[in-house]
Amino acid sequence: MTTVATKETGADTEPPEAQATEPDPDEPAVEEADAPRRIRSADADDRIAQVGSAAGSLGLVWILYHRVLPTEGLLGFVLCWWIAFLLLYALVTVQRHGRVVLVDRIAAAVVRSAAVVVAAALVTVIAYTFWRGGEALVHANFYTEDLVFDDSTDLSQGGIRHAIVGTLEMMGLSIAFTLPLGVACAVFLSEVRGRLSRIVRTIVEAMTALPSIAAGLFILVALILALGVEQSGLAASLALSVMMLPIITRAADVGLRLVPGGLREASLALGASQWRTVWHVVLPTARPALATALIIGVARGVGETSPVVLTAGYTNFLNANPLSGWQTSLPPFIYNNARLPEEEMVVRAFGAASVLLTIVLILFVISRIIATHRGGRRS
C-alpha cells in the first residue's frame, strides 16, 4: 500500500525507488509523506487571475456601458460584465499557460456561474413569494376567514381559511386512498413478483410522469360526467390520488428493494410465513423509505392545480364537507386570484403561495430528516 510516496518537493532529483525502499507500515512518518496531493485546489496564480479579471472587466464594462454606449438596465450590465470577464480571464490565462489550461479555466468559470444563476433563481422565487405575501401573512384574519370582504383592497378582511381546510382535507383523503394501495402494490412488485409484476411496474413507471391534467380529465369524465358524481373535494382527492399513486408506488418499491435479503431469509429460516416476514420484518425495516415515498407523493400532490380545478369547482367560502359541494384548495386559489387587476388580490395570491411553499418546505425537511436517519438502527 505505502510503496510509492508522492512527494512534490524533490520532483526529479531522486528516482521513486529511492523513496520506496523499506516501507514500514508501523512508522508514522510515512503517513505524512503519503498525504495525497490536492489536485483540485486553485493556486495563487489562478485566484489572482480570477479576481483581477473580474475587477478589470467590471471597470471596463462600467465605463463602456454607462458612459460610452447608449445602454441601460441591470440585467444587460451583468451579462456584459460576465462576457467581458470571460474574455479578459481567457486573455490573462493564455499569456501564461497553454490552450489546455485555458479551456479548463473557462469551462470551470462557465459551470460555476451557471450554478450561481440557478441558485439565484431558486432563492429569487422563494424569497420574492414570501416578500410579496408578507403583507397578507401578518394579518391574523388571513388564516381565519373566508375570502369575503366589503372592500377588496383592505387586507385586514378576508382570508384563505377555506383553501387551507380544502388542501388539508384533500390531502388527507388522498393519503387514505394512495398509502394502502401504493404500499400494497409495492409489496406485490418487490415481494410477490411474477410475470404480472413486470407489466405493472412498467405501467406504473410510465405513469409517474403522467400529466396532472390527464388525471383531472380522467376523473372528470369517468366519475363526474359518466357516473354523475358532483364536483367536490372527494372527486378532487380521487384525481390527486390517481396522480400520486404511481409516484408513491414507485418510491415505495425502490425502498422495499433496498431491504437486505438476509433479513428476509433469516425470518423465513425461523419458520415465519411470507406474510409474517413482510409484515414483521420487511415493512418495519423499510418504514423510513415508505415515509419518504409518502412525503414525495404528498409534496407533488399538494401543489397540483389542474386536477383540483377540473374536479372540485371553485368557491370563496368554507366548505368543510369534502363529500358534497364545491371546495377549493390553495393552488386553485392562487391561480384564480393571480390575474385579477387589484394589487391586493395578487398579494393574497402570494400569501397563499407562501403558505403552500411553507407546507412543501416542511414536508421536504421531514423527508430529508427521515432519509438521513434511514438505516441507522435496523440495517
Partner: protein
C-alpha cells in the same frame, strides 16, 4: 456451477433430495392473492385512464375526423375545432423551456458532481430536489408578476438584434420605440415567457437525472484520465460526458415530458391565440393542457369531447416521450460502466 453426475450409480436412489417445500400456508396464499389483486387494481386504474379518454374522444373523432389535426381554429360558435395550433404551441413552449433548461441542468449537474466541494454536495443535491418540489403554480405566479417585465425587455432586445430570424420576429412591434409603455404588451404573455417559467420547473428534473448518471462515471477511468495529466475539464470531456451521454438524453426527454404536460404555469402567463405560429416572442400562444384548463367549463358535450381528444393526444405524446426517456436512462444504468 455445473451439476456433477454422481459417480456411484448405486447411491443415486438414496441421494434424491427430499422435497422440503411444504406448499404455501393459507395465510400466504391469501397474502399473495391479495397483493396480486392490488397489483391488478392499480394496473386497471392506470389502464382505464387511457381507455376512458380514448372512448370519450370518440364523439369528436366521429364529428371532425382527421381534419381535427389540421384545423387550427377553436371556434366554439361555429364548431370549427382543431388541435393544430394547440400542438404547435405545446411543442413551441416545451422547446423554449428545454432550450433554456438543458444547458443550465447540464452545468448544474457537472457543478455538483465535479466542481463542488465534497462537503457541500449533499446540500446542493437537496437544493435541486427542493427546486423540483416547488409547486408549478408558484413558478407561474412569480413568472407572471416578477419575471414578465424583465423578460419582455429581453424579448425586445432579442427582437431588435435578431429580429431578422423568422422565429424571433414580432410583426407590428417597433423595438426602437421611445414609447415603451405602449409597446411592452406586444412582448408579454408569449411562448418565450411561458417557456422560461416552465424551464424553471423542468431544470431540476433534468439536472437530477444527469447528476445521478454523472456521479456513476467509473472512478477508474476518471483516475486514469487524471493520471495521464488531464485537467478537470479533460476528465469531464473524455470520461464524464461520454459516459453520461444517455443520462443527458434521458434527462432531456424526461424534462420534455414534464414540459409538454405542464398546465398551470402556462395558463397563468399566456394569452390564448390560435394562429399557427412559431414566433416565440410575440404576444399570445396556446398549449393543449392550458386550453383544457381554460375551456372545460364552458363547453358543450361535443366540445368537451374535443378537449378530451386533445387531452388524449397530449397523453399519448407524453407517454411516448417518457417511455423513451425511461428506456434511455435505464440502459445507461445497467452495465454501461466499465471496470478496470
Amino acid at each position: 456451477m455445473t451439476n456433477a453426475k454422481p459417480v456411484g450409480t448405486a447411491t443415486v436412489d438414496v441421494d434424491t433430495p427430499r422435497a422440503i417445500d411444504p406448499g404455501l400456508p393459507v395465510a400466504d396464499r391469501v397474502f399473495r392473492g391479495g397483493a396480486r389483486a392490488v397489483g391488478l387494481l392499480v394496473l386497471a386504474i392506470m389502464a382505464s385512464i387511457g381507455v376512458f379518454m380514448f372512448s370519450e374522444s370518440g364523439i369528436a373523432f366521429d364529428e371532425f375526423g382527421w381534419s381535427f389535426f389540421t384545423e387550427h381554429r377553436w371556434a366554439l360558435e361555429t364548431n370549427q375545432l382543431g388541435v393544430l395550433s394547440l400542438l404547435v404551441g405545446t411543442v413551441t413552449v416545451a422547446a423554449v423551456a428545454i432550450a433554456i433548461a438543458v444547458p443550465f441542468a447540464l452545468t448544474t449537474a457537472l457543478f455538483i458532481t465535479e466542481y463542488a466541494p465534497l462537503r457541500a454536495r449533499r446540500t446542493l443535491i437537496a437544493l435541486v430536489d427542493l427546486m423540483a418540489a416547488v409547486p408549478s403554480v408558484v413558478y407561474g405566479l412569480v413568472g407572471l408578476i416578477l419575471f414578465q417585465p424583465y423578460l419582455a425587455d429581453i424579448a425586445r432586445w432579442i427582437h431588435d438584434f435578431f429580429g431578422w430570424i423568422a422565429i424571433l420576429d414580432v410583426p407590428g412591434a417597433d423595438p426602437d420605440t421611445t414609447n415603451w409603455n405602449n409597446t411592452a404588451h406586444q412582448y408579454t404573455s408569449s411562448a418565450f415567457i411561458a417557456g422560461v417559467a416552465v424551464a424553471l420547473m423542468v431544470m431540476p428534473v433534468c439536472a437530477a437525472v444527469m447528476r445521478e448518471v454523472f456521479s456513476q462515471a467509473p472512478a477508474g477511468e476518471r483516475e486514469a484520465a487524471l493520471a495521464l495529466g488531464g485537467t478537470r475539464w479533460g476528465v469531464i470531456r473524455s470520461v464524464v460526458l461520454p459516459f453520461g451521454r444517455s443520462g443527458i438524453v434521458g434527462g432531456t426527454m424526461l424534462g420534455l415530458g414534464r414540459a409538454l404536460g405542464e398546465t398551470i404555469a402556462i395558463a397563468l402567463i399566456i394569452v390564448p391565440a390560435f394562429d399557427v405560429k412559431l414566433r416565440i416572442l410575440e404576444n399570445g400562444t396556446i398549449t393543449i393542457a392550458s386550453q383544457i384548463i381554460l375551456r372545460f367549463g364552458e363547453s358543450s358535450p361535443l366540445q368537451l369531447s374535443a378537449l378530451m381528444f386533445a387531452g388524449l393526444v397530449l397523453f399519448v405524446f407524453t407517454l411516448i416521450v417518457n417511455t423513451i426517456a425511461a428506456a434511455v436512462v435505464s440502459r445507461s444504468r445497467s452495465g454501461a460502466a466499465t471496470e478496470i
